[in-house]
């Protein structure tokens, strides 16, 4: 059954014809060519596919494209400000929080969701929050450092703006 779905992706209105069974991640990767969002498992655990839907972290492999009708989706491609990395991206680079890079987009989208709700997370809170994001390369040590540093940078930027 073909359906037309209309939504906002990275600030642009898009509309596409999909099957009922088409997943949001398939719409993003295959129809819209936004291949920064990855698929690492079939059971909604690894978190490589995390995007923001209406400002909240969601596993795009576990949401039908039709369920995203009318919603606002943000992917890793829209996190940097032009060529300037977001402070969280910068913190990941500074702390060597990525190796192969496959889990990284999901990690960053989750990290931003965490910091939105908890601007100054402890190490423990970061580790617990990452329950749904697997990384096989880093042992998470540097990811924890990066999220802490990214959160601090975001607090700093917010204070500077106020």
């Amino acid at each position: 059954m073909q359906k037309t779905v209309s939504l906002t992706v990275n600030g642009k209105s898009v509309s596409a014809t999909v099957e009922g069974r088409t997943l949001l991640v398939q719409l993003l990767r295959e129809t819209l060519g936004l291949t920064g969002t990855h698929v690492g498992c079939d059971t909604s655990q690894c978190g490589a596919c995390v995007v923001h839907v209406d400002g909240e972290a969601v596993k795009s492999c576990t949401l039908l494209a039709v369920q995203a009708e009318g919603r606002t989706v943000k992917t890793i491609e829209d996190v940097a400000d032009g060529d300037t990395l977001h402070p969280m991206q910068e913190a990941f680079r500074d702390n060597h929080a990525l190796q192969c890079g496959f889990c990284t987009p999901g990690m960053i989208m989750s990290a931003l969701d965490l910091v939105k709700n908890n601007p100054d997370p402890t190490d423990r809170e970061i580790r617990e929050y990452l329950e749904g994001n697997f990384c096989r390369c880093t042992g998470y040590h540097n990811i924890v450092l990066a999220i802490k540093a990214g959160a601090a940078a975001m607090r700093g930027a917010k204070q500077a703006a106020e």
Partner: protein, 790 residues
């Protein structure tokens, strides 16, 4: 600051941080069709017939192929790259490994048919219409069971399921040495089967150019040239000049992406048949049932000690599970990458190992991070700890007493290897001091007051990296050379492209190699580009595994740079009208010794490509040099890890409260990247010790851990923060003095954790806990003790 030894931020990160990486599944080709592989649901069955007629007619389906089509087209089986000979001199059994099952299926996940359709969903829909008539046969998944008489045979032509029965050392000598020992400590242990689980599932795209007849394979590989050689020469019979293999950004490998897999051959073959690009991407469940697994040993070990607690003999008998077929390097892992490491960091004079490699109805087993060395280290460090416990001596002291003295290098072990350098005392001192090993008993007592059981565990390790001297491995049965190649291409305006045969799938070569070149040629790191992963661009290279990239691939770059500098000196001598012997090269400048006359490397490059004033009678134009480097020896990273755990006695749940790692990697080019490699290795080693274990149903051979619902991957909250330190003794036989750091964590961590667990449970009389040490196993150990005490 970009020179060697500084933590330069990674140059590859920008694209990964912004979603601009290009992994295989991100690539799409015009007119592309999709492959879905129908896999065996049975561990062992005869295929009576396959009816694909309904599938072929289904919506969007382009073609369906089975093993019969593979045979009709003369497609070869997947080759094994290392031949092992048994004790009696006979070569190993090497049964065929068809690309699509031919007559029999031998493990759950064995490919049976491929459906090609316009969309993946259509291919998968149609695959359900392929009717395969199976006669299910008894299966065996456990090595012990497979060796019993009357066990189901995985291959009719392999008696007793034994691939080879190999040994290293002298049986008579070990028996005598053990007989003469004052004390013999014995232990049975298993090294649990693991699934590598790189986060990027494998994928492959076959493409075919009708105009040129060239095949292109995009694949998730650690070594594109190895795939080109194996697939071109042995499977599809495509001349290498007509076959291009591209391994773009690859999302982790850990060994599992070394091997040539059936799906690579299938998409390349089908693309040639259909003259259309064919894409296949593994679902995670397919990764579990088709990526080569790791470890899976069952071992009996005996350690003999003299009156003075010196190790006098080590005897090891191992059953190694090969799975249903021989994966590319499966056979060398439990032999030459395992038994040769059994000296560890110790002076044990007599060592004997015998290894039976056994076929079972399971996914093939091959190298996974560490590959043989974790298995050797685990048994050695467990038996040493057990010896310390039984002798009532401190495990750190027992190790020190038996360490190879720091002044004894080069040190010839009784198991073939010659260690070039090392200092095991210093890393053990660093790790034990950082861990406050001396103050542990007060922490144990404090934990006891809180009702938890605290334990501390030490493991030291040695590994053989920088794989490998070709002549040595060739004499041991390798069917490949293990050199590495690099081209240094200095462009006319002074920027430099490095073409390397090493492959980065997370290791950060684009940064580390660029540091080498910026340092070596005295140019800004921004002027250096690293190219890897495309057989059409790079020289013939062997790829990345066995912690070899810097030690072997980096050395090839150094050797090629040496040639550039040598040629540059000749050009500079000509331009500066000086003797070549008087030209010095430093910081990017060729200068006449003792003068201020110099030419920059940029000027030299321009001269080389615009050779108006050039020594044509002596030199060719251009500044582009290639070097192939074949290492003289392995490198021998080593280290000491100290783990501290607390156990909740009511649930058996283990928490790692401290982890201190001290490593000797020789010279370190980028300490930030090295630390990252250690962290990742530790996580996988801790995963093996506490969480991960691939489980087959013993009766049916069904894979019970086929998703993340059942295979426990280490998550952030399972792991501690790691405390790292390093102590360097330089490798003596490569110009950088580097040893390799990629596998250390996975090698040393399992024993450190296990020793800590056993230490915590010592009051319960526990001698050993099998990995993964799940809460239930721990609870049972405690519970049985309590029951017995009552």
């Amino acid at each position: 600051m970009t020179e060697i030894g500084t933590p330069v931020r990674r140059r590859e990160d920008y694209r990964f941080l912004t979603g601009q990486g290009t992994y295989t599944d991100d690539i799409n080709r015009p007119r592309q069709v999709y492959a879905y592989i129908l896999r065996s649901p049975h561990a062992s069955a005869r295929i009576i017939g396959i009816d694909a007629s309904a599938a072929a007619k289904a919506s969007g389906v382009v073609a369906v192929y089975t093993g019969k089509d593979i045979e009709a087209d003369g497609i070869g089986g997947l080759p094994c790259g290392w031949q092992i000979h048994s004790k009696d001199g006979s070569p190993m059994h090497e049964p065929p490994h068809p690309v699509l099952a031919s007559g029999h299926v031998r493990h759950v996940g064995d490919p049976v048919a491929v459906v090609i359709a316009d969309s993946l969903a259509q291919a998968r829909d149609a695959a359900e219409l392929v009717k395969v008539d199976y006669a299910v046969e008894p299966a065996v998944s456990d090595v012990g069971e497979a060796l019993k008489s009357g066990a189901p045979l995985v291959h009719a032509e392999v008696p007793g399921n034994v691939c080879y029965d190999w040994h290293l050392g002298e049986p008579a000598a070990i028996d005598a040495a053990l007989k003469g020992a004052a004390r013999v400590i014995k232990l049975d242990l298993t090294n649990n089967r693991l699934v590598p689980n790189a986060m990027e599932p494998r994928a492959a795209i076959g493409d075919f150019d009708r105009a040129t007849g060239e095949h292109t394979l995009y694949t998730t590989s650690q070594n594109p040239h190895v795939i080109r050689l194996l697939m071109g020469a042995f499977v599809l019979h495509i001349p290498e000049a007509k076959l291009r293999v591209v391994a773009p950004d690859v999302g982790g490998g850990f060994g599992s992406k070394i091997y040539h897999y059936a799906e690579e051959a299938i998409v390349t073959w089908v693309a040639g048949k259909l003259k259309r690009p064919v894409k296949w991407t593994a679902e995670r469940v397919e990764s579990f049932m088709s990526d080569a697994h790791g470890r899976d040993h069952v071992t009996h070990v005996e350690l003999g000690l003299d009156q003075d607690n010196k190790f006098v003999a080590l005897k090891v008998s191992t059953l190694a599970n090969m799975g249903a077929y021989l994966s590319t390097f499966a056979t060398c892992i439990p032999t030459y990458l395992y038994a040769t490491l059994l000296a560890g960091t110790y002076t044990t004079p007599v060592i004997y190992a015998e290894v039976k490699a056994v076929f079972t109805h399971t996914v093939p087993v091959d190298a996974y991070r560490g590959a043989g060395r974790p298995e050797a280290t685990f048994l050695l460090e467990r038996i040493v700890d057990l010896a310390a416990d039984e002798l009532g001596v401190d495990p750190a002291e027992l190790r020190r007493k038996n360490f190879i003295p720091t002044d004894a290098f080069p040190y010839q072990t009784p198991v073939a290897l010659q260690y070039d350098s090392g200092d095991y005392f210093s890393t053990l001192d660093l790790a034990t001091k950082a861990a406050d090993y001396a103050g542990f008993e007060s922490r144990r007592a404090e934990a006891a007051r809180r009702g938890t059981l605290r334990g501390i565990g030490i493991a030291t390790y040695i590994e053989a990296c920088g794989i490998a001297p070709s002549a040595v491995v060739g004499s041991l049965g390798a069917r490949a050379g293990l050199f590495e190649a690099a081209t240094v291409r200095v462009h006319p305006t002074g920027s430099v492209t490095i073409l390397t045969g090493s492959h980065s799938h997370g290791q950060g070569h684009e940064t580390t190699f660029a540091q080498l070149v910026a340092d070596g040629l005295g140019i800004p790191i921004e002027s250096v580009e690293i190219v890897h992963g495309d057989s059409a661009k790079i020289p013939y290279g062997m790829g990345t595994y066995g912690s070899r990239s810097l030690a072997v691939g980096g050395t090839a770059i150094i050797k090629a740079m040496d040639k550039i500098i040598a040629k540059g000196k000749k050009i500079a001598a000509h331009l500066l009208e000086a003797a070549e012997a008087d030209i010095e090269f430093k910081d990017g400048q060729f200068s006449v010794a003792g003068t201020d006359r110099s030419k920059s490397i940029g000027e030299i490059a321009l001269t080389a490509y615009v050779p108006h004033n050039f020594p044509h009678e002596e030199l060719e134009p251009g500044l582009d040099e290639t070097a192939f480097y074949d290492p003289k020896n392995f490198t021998f990273p080593s280290g000491a890890y100290v783990a501290e755990v607390e156990i909740d006695p009511d649930t058996g749940r283990i928490e790692i409260v401290n982890f201190n790692a001290s490593d000797d990697f020789g010279r370190i080019v980028n300490p930030m990247i090295v630390a990252g490699q250690v962290h990742g290795g530790l996580a996988q080693g801790i995963g093996q010790a506490l969480l991960e274990g691939c489980v087959y149903d013993r009766a049916t051979g069904q894979l019970l851990t086929a998703s993340y619902n059942d295979y426990a991957m280490p998550r952030a909250d399972d792991l501690p923060a790691f405390a790292l330190s390093t102590h360097a003794t330089y490798c003596t036989h490569n110009p950088l003095g580097v040893k390799g750091c990629g596998e250390a964590g996975a090698i040393g961590a399992p024993a450190a954790i296990s020793n800590a667990i056993v230490d915590a449970l010592k009051p319960m009389g526990v001698r050993h806990v099998e990995m993964p040490a799940t809460p239930e196993k721990i609870w049972r150990a405690i519970h049985q003790h309590r029951v017995a005490a009552e």
